[in-house]
Subunit: 243 residues, 2 copies
């Protein structure tokens, strides 16, 4: 089993000898986290010499006995130890030369994890969180995959209660706003933001206050339990254009 998304050369040589139908299929996970008011993504040092010094997303080949969703879930579990995680398919990348050592088609997923709650013990083997904004170049076509997934995330956050997977259970409205700002890479007006969130009716007022801030503490909220769906699939776009 390969150590990360890049196939070992030996494996690919084997692959490339096989006949017509032999195209390898992998999954790659864009694992987002949030820390220090920045959107992060979990990357690993590429072990391909072609990509010496570059980082890549976490991925692996899909096994013959697992479906795509399971494969991406497995990658996530193996890499982070996390089990109950938001994960959604985004796009499949199939350019002929996207992998230097052979034909590999990859299906990209994005995941949202609470970076603080699970200090991954896996900080050996060159696995690190990187600020999304600082990323310049990645191995393979992973920069483009990352951008595609980031766009998808941006599209979803106002329509669906997904970002809460990036926060700890209790949070203040300031923290939530800072998270939105980090994802969208813009500033938001505080009053308008609160109004908009209030309308969604996603939050439960815990009647508790922050106690760790050096200023007036804000109220704490949590996501209403009925919205706490990991692995959630988007609903059909129904009333796109109502009568």
């Amino acid at each position: 089993m390969p150590k990360n998304s890049s196939l070992k050369t030996a494996e690919l040589e084997k692959i490339s000898h096989l006949d017509y139908f032999n195209i390898a299929i992998s999954v790659d996970c864009v694992i987002f986290g949030y820390d220090n008011k920045e959107l992060k993504v979990l990357l690993i040092k590429s072990d391909l010499e072609e990509f010496e010094g570059l980082y890549s997303l976490l991925g692996d080949l899909v096994r013959p006995d697992e479906d795509l969703d399971s494969a991406s879930y497995r990658v996530l579990r193996e890499r982070t130890g996390l089990d109950d995680v938001f994960l959604e398919q985004v796009h499949t990348f199939g350019s002929i030369n996207r992998h230097p050592s052979g034909r590999v088609i990859t299906t990209a997923y994005y995941a949202l994890v609470d970076i603080k709650h699970h200090k991954l013990k896996l900080n050996h083997n060159d696995l690190h969180w990187h600020s999304v904004n600082d990323i310049r170049k990645l191995a393979f076509d992973h920069k483009s995959i990352l951008e595609t997934c980031l766009n998808r995330l941006r599209e979803q956050i106002m329509e669906h209660p997904v970002v809460f997977n990036l926060l700890s259970e209790k949070f203040s409205l300031r923290e939530l706003q800072e998270l939105y700002q980090a994802i969208l890479d813009t500033d938001l007006d505080r009053r308008n933001f609160r109004k908009k969130i209030a309308i969604k009716d996603w939050l439960l007022d815990l009647n508790e206050m922050e106690d760790d801030v050096p200023h007036r503490p804000g109220k704490l909220y949590k996501l209403k339990p009925e919205f706490r769906k990991k692995n959630q699939r988007r609903k059909a776009g129904s009333s796109v254009l109502a009568g």
Copy 2:
């Protein structure tokens, strides 16, 4: 080369003997058309005995030397003779048992074609247009693929000028509204619909009138050339939540 999306058994037997990485990958095209005020989809009789009498989408295995987009484009071209067609990737379906004779992962695309302009000469070999609303059961997981693609289409039509690929070049606002209604499966208010379309500023007034209707003719429009992009990719969701 297989005649349609279902793999020939012989081919699959060969495949299943190959080792670890051997998963076949295919593309399936949901080819939408519009006729008689109904949204149609192009289907072919399944040639698998497991699916005796059922229809399936048009698909084929991806060749080692073509990327995914090219493969779906090729299927489209081979099946319809059409060349300049709107085509967009939607989702990849990878359940283990989705194909009865082996492991096949498929990437679904949806296409929009002008059903009238190109009377496909291919009406032999059980290739037919079916009303989307009448479809009950399809081979493989193709019903679910169809639904996913239909949902995607519904999501896109108000944001992006895509439906024009289903109409002939000149059309009246009534025709356009009927098309939207067919896709969304709802009735729309005529004045509000026209207002909404006017705001988009997608249309060019041709200063011509319908001449084939048994009532007062409407004005004819066409899509402004700058929006006539086939094979268009969705833009990034930018100002989801502006200051």
